[in-house]
Amino acid sequence: MNKSREEILKDVLNLLEQLAQDWDYQATVNEGTRIFGDLGFESLDAVVLGTAIQEHYKQQMPFAGLLAEIGQREVRDLSVAELVDFIHSHLDRQGIS
């Protein structure tokens, strides 16, 4: 079983929209939404989000590595599009168990 980037984007937007309804977040979540800057995530929230995504796909992914990559940037944040790309590349590489 494999998933296209579009399918993963749909999954992630659905997941974040479900969560956002509990946070009083008014704007629409889209590919450009920033996890820390817009959604107000704390670092621990991001770690647990990574766990939730791994649970959803039933597959381990190197989320610590993703956070490491973010730290090298001038603006230390992660867009939904980048999160989707990360998941896509790892599902592609390892397949869905």
Binding site: L19, D22, V48, E55, A64, G71
Partner: protein, 526 residues
């Protein structure tokens, strides 16, 4: 409900008995008179994650694999991550009861995220509120809870910025709101409990209240009956607020117990006790001054400038703060009181490892204050206290401080200093209370082990006790007639959950160091 298990994190008879005597917890006083009580000795170390995991599995940490809120990525890694339910290497009582067809719910217990699929409902504890929706089982439970009148999911779950105040302290003007939040949080858990019980019948319910631990950490000097004299007006007001918390908790306990069947049983247990602490033992500074640890040149003088005392929010900074070419031992979290030795896998059975272990242990046991009194009372190697399949993930050495406090991992000029105020710290002696059909009234048992709770719950549910549990049913709890009609039956073994350790992504050392540097820059580990 046949069996109700109520966890009260950090409850100690030293405080509880005083509150009963003052009339602040009348229900608990009546519970004691109508039931049986004993001191409940916890596992080593007396810390929340391994202790509750031992209570809910009936196994010690070397077997269930939980030693701290965090765990090493792998036995040879210096990196740590948050521990999850996948790291619990033994079957829990809720899974075991489910496997035997019992309907079960468990509320607010740690190490339950991601929630296991049991025959019932799970709301895990220690989960950030923003993600609670995906933490609950079954998946529609969160939406159902949101509809419950008065239930605020945001205050049900964890807010890490608020949690940290318990051990690191807070400003005087923050105490009031912080204590009131814990009262509201326990009320939220009551509403969740009430909702589930109103929906359908359950055989076994378990609920954990963690406000006692939080209040006692921060407010011990107002709560401890030995210290609560000579308070100024502000301190009296804070003490009164703490007492309001306990008064409300007593009312909540009374309501919970009304849901137990007339032929059912209620058990109340804590994961550890509590006592005063004021020492700050800077373990990494001691290691440095004894040439086991070398700080890297960080360009800032290397000293911690933040107001933190222990470094709870700075776990994992060791990965970039230390010179790994010259460091042979380090502490990475204040919450484990553990020291890790830098050693390759193949060295761990060699004489150099044993010699280093022995030198550090002897050195720690000889740490003394200005009066010549020893500061560290016990130092255990991991094979002494964590023997089992997960031993290789445990700290190489685990220490106990004379006042039961947690070590500080922060860099300091001094090895030993004092907190500005007396705080609360864990003690090995927790509480156990039991009441219900067949249980002796107004009885005190000798000290029991936290490992006895799992078999006791299973017995209460009419199930056989798996032979691989290490505790035993405290039969002295029951009247003879009850025991004759409800004998303890042994049978079968537990079923360990499938380990996911092998499928975790593995990084090499260079990648790990890059990751930790970036995590620091993101603010995750600092």
């Amino acid at each position: 409900m046949r069996t109700l298990l109520i966890g009260i994190d950090g409850a100690t008879f030293h405080v509880i008995d005083s509150l009963i005597d003052q009339g602040i917890m009348p229900f608990l006083g009546e519970f004691c008179r109508r039931g049986t009580r004993s001191t409940l000795r916890t596992i080593i170390p007396a810390l929340t994650p391994p202790a509750w995991t031992s209570l809910m599995t009936g196994r010690p940490p070397g077997h269930h694999g939980v030693f701290d809120f965090f765990r090493l990525e792998s036995p040879e890694s210096r990196q740590i991550r948050f521990a999850t339910s996948h790291d619990v290497g033994c079957e829990t009582i809720w899974s075991l009861a489910s496997r035997h067809g019992k309907r079960v719910f468990t509320l607010n217990f740690p190490l339950m995220y991601p929630a296991p699929e049991i025959n019932g409902c799970v709301i895990p504890g220690w989960v950030p509120w923003k993600l609670l929706r995906f933490a609950c089982y079954p998946s529609n439970l969160f939406d159902r809870l949101k509809e419950v009148s008065g239930l605020n999911p945001r205050e049900l779950a964890m807010d890490i910025k608020l949690e940290e105040k318990a051990t690191e302290g807070c400003r005087d003007d923050e105490y009031d709101d912080w204590i009131r939040l814990h009262i509201r949080r326990e009320e939220n858990w009551l509403r969740a409990f009430r909702y589930l019980m109103d929906q359908e019948p359950f055989d076994f319910g378990a609920i954990l209240f963690d406000g006692v631990d939080k209040l006692q950490h921060l407010c011990w000097r107002f709560i401890d009956p030995d210290l609560a004299g000579n308070l100024n007006d502000w301190e009296k007001r804070i003490r009164d607020l703490c007492l309001d918390y306990f008064r409300r908790l007593d009312q909540i306990l009374e309501e919970l117990c009304q849901y137990v069947d007339s032929d059912g049983q209620t058990y109340i247990a804590s994961d550890h006790g509590f006592g005063p602490t004021q020492d700050l033992f800077h373990i990494n500074t001691w290691l440095e001054k004894n040439r086991y640890l070398k700080w890297a040149d960080t360009g800032s003088g290397g000293h911690d400038t933040q107001p933190a005392l222990l470094g709870v929010g700075q776990v994992a900074r060791h990965t970039y703060l230390m010179d790994w070419d010259k460091t042979r031992a380090f502490a990475t979290t204040p919450t484990s009181n553990g020291v890790y030795l830098v050693a390759e896998k193949e060295d761990r059975n060699g004489s150099r490892y044993a010699s280093l272990l022995s030198q550090i242990r002897e050195g720690l046991l000889d740490v003394r204050d200005t009066a010549g009194e020893r500061v560290v009372t016990e130092v255990w190697s991991r094979d002494e206290i964590f023997s089992g399949p997960f031993e290789n993930l445990a700290p190489d050495l685990t220490l106990v401080l004379r006042d039961g406090g947690l070590v500080s991992i922060l860099r300091s000029d001094q090895i030993l200093s004092k907190r500005p105020n007396v705080a609360g710290a864990h003690r090995p002696e927790g509480i156990f209370l039991a009441q219900g059909k067949g249980i002796r009234e107004n009885t005190r048992l000798n000290e029991r082990s936290i490992l006895d709770i799992a078999p006791l719950v299973l017995h209460s549910l009419g199930l056989d006790i798996p032979s691989d549990l290490e505790g035993e049913v405290p039969v002295g709890l029951f009247g003879e007639q009850w025991l004759q009609s409800h004998p303890v039956k042994m049978g079968g073994t537990t079923v360990a959950q499938e380990s996911r350790q092998q499928s975790e992504p593995v990084m090499n050392q260079e990648e790990e160091e890059a990751v930790m540097e970036r995590l620091r820059e993101l603010g995750y580990i600092e």
